[in-house]
Subunit: 449 residues, 2 copies
């Protein structure tokens, strides 16, 4: 049947509400199954899959194509963009319990070239490089698309939780004059003839903005010129940053982080339930009080139970993080664990020391399912403390002058945290590599697509 | 009186609900007014100003300071971070009708150095360069802070509107392999030894992601190496980008943009009413149908009424945009005007031509209060059309190969738009320069703070 002017488009997910009525779907031809007496077309749109069924002989079924010759059904390849008009009809065997009968198909944008791997198969056969090289097409696979829906819901939940707590969203420069936060791993660029750098974090800006808004967050890109090719590092990633003033210590920051996590899980539940089901994601419970352990106690536990880092570094190696995370699960039934009080020597100069124990700090990491997910803590807020901290590290205050100036003009006790979005999503969906949950990863070896 | 352990902090805006009860405020000493028989301290926190009143002699009033010596009231400079504990007492003369009586003051972070200009004065005496040079302190002035609250509410409203319409938020690379969208005005950088560029827009990525999510948006930084120092250009700005598939033409995109604008205005009303009142912002009404005029008709009108651009350019000069905007206000009572059908020659190669009039295009600009605020339109969606469009412009498809590949695999008719956040906020608050509504502007001459 040749199509006439279509009614307004319906989404596949709306079909159950249309049973008995004419309906127009638009989407991609996900799969074509030609059987002896019947042909099924599976259409994919942003909501889900839907089935259209042709009975009778089809070799000569005609289609109106928007700008091409009339085409036989068998000549329309998968991934072609089509419009299907017909009647929504209940059928317990069809996906969603409804299918489109007496369908007419219109090709909307010409026959599609074959994708780099079959998108209709229930599993993904392609390797990670193939997926990344062909992201615009590969990510159409429902299994590869789903993590990004979960990721978007996570960010929305983060923002909603912090908005509710009186935070203000900010947008800060991604190009800065000096590579302040840490000398290494920065990308240099030419800024109208001046040497400049991509910002490794919004740290200094968000601290300064505590002086203006008290509570701020930013959800944006940060850049690390990571010279290592690992499964958990990207050269650009999305950092969920927050900073708040008028705290009494790092635990006030941890309490806000907990609220943010609750908001993220809630919004995933609300928006991405189908994607969680598809990927078999078990969402974590965020305990009323996330368990915490001081760095020194953690070291003692690890000394008893885990082989020590031969470097003797006063830090937690990935294996240590995994062990501690499993320990928190056993001891407290929690997938989250705060490790607090990291040694000052391992934290940036703006870190606030632990009162009464100045070689340790009012800082924390949050471990989630075996991996460091968040770093945060209280910051210095007095100008003189900054000068002393830099002097103690043998650093000149000169490159930090613009940053430090804010602290001369009255800054409250404050602190904050940064959560790596891709690490969060990767942990949630059980991805073995953050690149699996990044639309277009950027790293040592990858600058396109 | 020496302070004791404070009760939980209240915000200044909560005072009216606390009348008759003890209360603890924390914030900045906005203003100290020492009169003969009474001294007023005005405290500023993120919610508003609040007044504390000391009666009796104060030259010797004592304060506990967190880490300093006991200080006389007169020695605590403005902008010092303080805690004020006392009783909330109704007083019709006080800001908000309530003040804190019998107050005790604790200095929380040492005396503040004097700000670059008086933050307590009702107007801002400083020049724009002074404001920008001292942004961390200057933006504390309520008049300079308010636009950023309006800006944050705008972005929230944009996202809420598009979320409701089934859009998915994406995060795309800010570093790209080729300066594709336009050869000029790009920042180059060294990416692990490879030449790379800062992304001028998420254009190609958002188009590709229509193939995955159908409807996407991104709210993030874009970079233009603008060699001109104008009041409306920044080298980094925040772009509110959207793209959607399965459209019938550019008017479907315009309809979505209208919904986004409605969402933005609604969220400003909800979150930033006080800031709008402070700045005397008149929020625009978004008409049910925003008036539109075709580029050719606009040219005819302008030929009649406005002196022509001596260059004879087939484009709208700023003076033309102002005239058209005023015309829409007169004719339709609308502060918004769509100009549609821009000549293909003035639009990027991915622009969809106007059916039946191929030298014009299915594109639009949205003018708001005399200025171009949004650019958008329908894009080409067929691979062959891209090859032809590039060939017609004498360009090789080679640098676009990764981008074009998506179109070989089935892309629906689609389009989108980009709205410059700073321009929007500047228009709303009547700022004469986008730098007044940008926290830390980046331009030809400015890379810090």
């Amino acid at each position: 049947m040749i199509s006439t002017e279509p009614a307004a488009r319906a989404l596949a997910a709306e079909l159950p509400r249309r049973v008995g009525h004419p309906v127009t779907l638009e989407g991609w031809l996900h799969r074509r199954r030609v059987l002896k007496a019947v042909t099924f077309l599976i259409l994919r749109d942003r909501s889900r899959l839907a089935q259209a069924v042709f009975t009778g002989p089809h070799g000569t079924a005609a289609f109106e194509t928007a700008s091409f010759e009339t085409t036989a059904l068998e000549e329309i390849p998968e991934e072609t963009v089509v419009r299907i008009t017909g009647t929504a009809t209940a059928n317990a065997q069809a996906p969603g319990g409804v299918e489109v009968t007496e369908p007419t198909v219109t090709v909307l944008s010409g026959p599609a070239a074959a994708p780099p791997f079959d998108l209709y198969r229930p599993t993904v056969a392609a390797t990670l490089p193939t997926i990344l090289d062909h992201a615009p097409v590969a990510l159409r696979h429902p299994l590869l698309r789903a993590p990004h829906i979960i990721s978007a819901a996570s960010v929305a939940g983060f923002r909603t939780a912090l908005d509710t707590l009186g935070f203000t969203e900010i947008h800060t420069p991604k190009v800065v004059a000096s590579a302040t936060e840490s000398g290494a791993n920065v990308f240099g660029l030419d800024w109208f003839g001046t040497r400049a750098y991509l910002a490794q974090s919004p740290q200094f800006f968000k601290q300064a903005m505590v002086g203006v808004f008290e509570r701020v967050y930013e959800t944006g890109p940060v850049f690390r010129a990571e010279p290592h090719d690992t499964a958990r590092h990207l050269a650009q990633y999305t950092s969920l940053d927050a900073e708040l003033g008028f705290i009494t210590g790092h635990r006030d920051v941890m309490a806000v982080l907990r609220e943010a996590l609750v908001g993220m899980v809630e919004e995933i539940t609300r928006r991405a339930g189908a994607e969680c089901a598809l990927l078999d994601v078990q969402l974590p419970e965020v305990p009323q009080r996330i368990p915490e352990i001081h760095f020194v106690e953690a070291q003692e536990l690890l000394a008893e139970h885990v082989e020590q880092d031969p470097r003797g570094e006063p830090d937690l190696a990935p294996a240590h993080e995994r062990w501690l995370s499993a320990w928190a699960q056993r001891e407290y039934g929690s997938e989250f664990l705060f490790v607090t009080g990291y040694p000052m020597a391992k934290r940036p100069f703006y870190t606030y020391p632990e009162p009464g124990w100045p070689e340790y700090s009012n800082s924390f990491d949050l471990l989630f399912r075996g991996l460091e997910l968040v770093t945060g803590g209280q910051r210095l807020h007095r100008y003189d403390d900054y000068l002393a901290a830099l002097a103690a590290r043998g650093e000149s205050p000169e490159p930090y002058a613009g940053y430090l100036d804010a602290f001369r003009h009255g800054m409250p006790p404050h602190g904050g945290f940064a959560l790596g979005l891709e690490r969060w999503t990767a942990r949630l969906v059980g991805a073995d590599n953050v690149r699996r949950v990044t639309l277009f990863p950027r790293d040592l070896n990858r600058l396109s697509p």
